[in-house]
Each structure stands twice: as C-alpha cells, then as structure tokens.
Symmetry: C2
Subunit: 160 residues, 2 copies
DNA sequence: CGTGAAAGTTTGATTGT
DNA sequence: ACAATCAAACTTTCACG
C-alpha cells in the first residue's frame, strides 16, 4: 500500500527535489537542469505519480491570509486502548478541515494534532467539539504556536 | 510581511479550496466549477500568488517511498531565553532538510519539531547533530510517530 | 469580466540506442 | 527498458472590448 517496490535512481531524486519545491516549472526547464529531454522528464514524473511517490500537487495557502491566525499543537490521550475509540478519533481528525496534521505517537500521549483556528475562541470551540464532546479523550494539552519557524511537507532526499 | 491587506471574496476562497487539493487542474476546469472564464480564474490565481496568499505550488512526496520511514515529533527546550540561541536554533531548523516543520510554542517547551529520518539510527544521529552538539538545547523529548493519520498543509477556508 | 488569437506546454507516436 | 524527436492537442497568456 505505501508503494509497490520500484527503485528510484539519481535522476528521479533530482526531479523530486526540484518539484517538491516548485511544481510549476515546465518540463523542458526541469529537463535542462537534470540533462533530460522534456518527454523523458514527463515519463518519469508520470511514473512517480502513478506509483504514489508523488502523492499530489497542491497550492500552499498562507494561513494568515485567510484568517487562520492561531495554530496550536495539541497533545491527546484517549480514555483507553479501545480500537473503536481510536478508529473514531482518527476519522474525526481526517474529516475536520481545521486539523492540518495528526500523528499517532509513542509515549504518554496517543496523538499529536496540529490545529488551525482564527482565534482563541474558535480554538476553544474546536477543542470542545473534537476532544471533549466525543467522550473518547482522557486528557489533552494545547500548546499554542507563536511562531511558525518552518512549515512544509518537504522530504529529505538521498543526495541533496 | 504576512500579506498586505486585500479582501478575498467567496470566489477566491472557492478557488483556493480547489487548488489547495489539486494544483494541476486546468483554468477552464476550475472556471467551470466556480462559474468564471479561464482568464478570470487566471487573474485571480495570479493575484493570490502575487499577494502571497498562495505561497507556492509543490509536489507532495510520500516519505516512505524515498526511505524516510521514521517520523518523530520532538519537543525541545533551550537552555535559556537568550535571543542569540533562539536565532541560531531557528536557523538550524530552517537549514536542515530532515526538519519538516518547526513551531515556537508556549508552555514548558520552546519548540515542536517534526523530524524525518530513515530509521532509529539516523534519528539518533540527527538528534545528536541538531539538539546536542550546538549546546543550546537544555532538554528534548522524542515522540516517534507510528502512524500518520493525516498530513497536509491544507488550511480551513471560510465557507467550505 | 469575457473573448479570442498567439505563445508556450504537454502528450504520445515513432524511431533509435 | 529507456531516451530523443516532432507534430498534434491542450493550456496559459495577454491585449482588447
């Protein structure tokens, strides 16, 4: 499910390192940088897309421009290790647009959630709806972010 | 610096909600969905790019396909509130490809860092290099992620 | 904002390595 | 299996109404 085995070569890594920073560059320009013709670049990118190495191509929106001024990291522990509770909680996280990211973690907490809200009041409403109302959360701790030092989905690539 | 004031209307939000999920759709297709001509869509997208509402357009790479199998959330506290230390630490985070995200947070910790590595050994090497060697970190706690429930940069938009 | 023509980009068939 | 070329299809761009 992650990705069928398929060996990437140096050229693939090079292309990935370019497009994960800017997905809008024309094929001939990428080709010039890596020493390939536009259609060879296209074949590789399509293969990478098809195999799921490139998951998607998206526009990154600046949260503050659209009124999402309060980012917070929330640590969450569920009431017990019931599989149903975990499944329900994950589904809730996936369905909620205000949840940017959610990871299952090891240690005293079960989840780390990155939550975007317009302000403290909305953060409170969201927390009530996501962490209190369902009754599956034992404890949660909100760590408001006051600066985003770095935010991206960029992945470190062999040979960059 | 965040974004010069500029009021977005419902059509802008609609376009953003489309392109933040798929940046490769042609202008005429976006136009059909929102009821605008291709050039009106283009004008709006270019304005959104120029004003920094759309920060970039990127390919999202699946970490596991490129050998980044271990994601971890690291909580970090610096040794004191010296501005130089904070500046140096932020710069280190920004410069390091293995750091996907880094937020300054309120509370007992100073930073939350999302770190990508190939395995535990590399995570240890990275931690040594990023958190121990510089001598500016008082304490750090690594919370290995065992599942990525959700990961994206998608922002909640008014009216979606 | 829409139209439409020109410019640029992507696609895929073909051929060669 | 992979790459280059080239022509057709499609997309973006931009001047004008």
């Amino acid at each position: 499910m992650p990705s069928p085995s398929y060996v990437l070569d140096q050229l693939d890594y090079l292309l990935l390192s370019l497009v994960q920073h800017d997905a809008r560059r024309p094929l001939h320009e990428l080709g010039d940088e890596v020493g390939l013709s536009p259609s060879a670049v296209q074949r590789r990118l399509n293969r990478l897309r098809q195999r799921g190495v490139i998951r998607s191509e998206v526009a990154v929106v600046e949260p503050r421009s659209v009124g999402a001024d309060l980012m917070a990291v929330v640590l969450v522990a569920l009431i017990d290790d019931d599989a149903e509770h975990h499944a329900a909680f994950r589904e809730l996280m996936r369905a909620e647009p205000a949840v940017q990211q959610c990871y299952t973690i090891m240690g005293q907490w079960d989840y780390v959630v990155v939550l975007l809200a317009s302000d403290i009041a909305e953060n409170r409403r969201l927390s009530a709806r996501l962490f209190v109302a369902p009754g599956t959360v034992r404890r949660y701790e909100t760590l408001p972010a006051f600066e985003v030092v770095k935010a991206g989905l960029t992945v470190p690539l062999p040979g960059s």
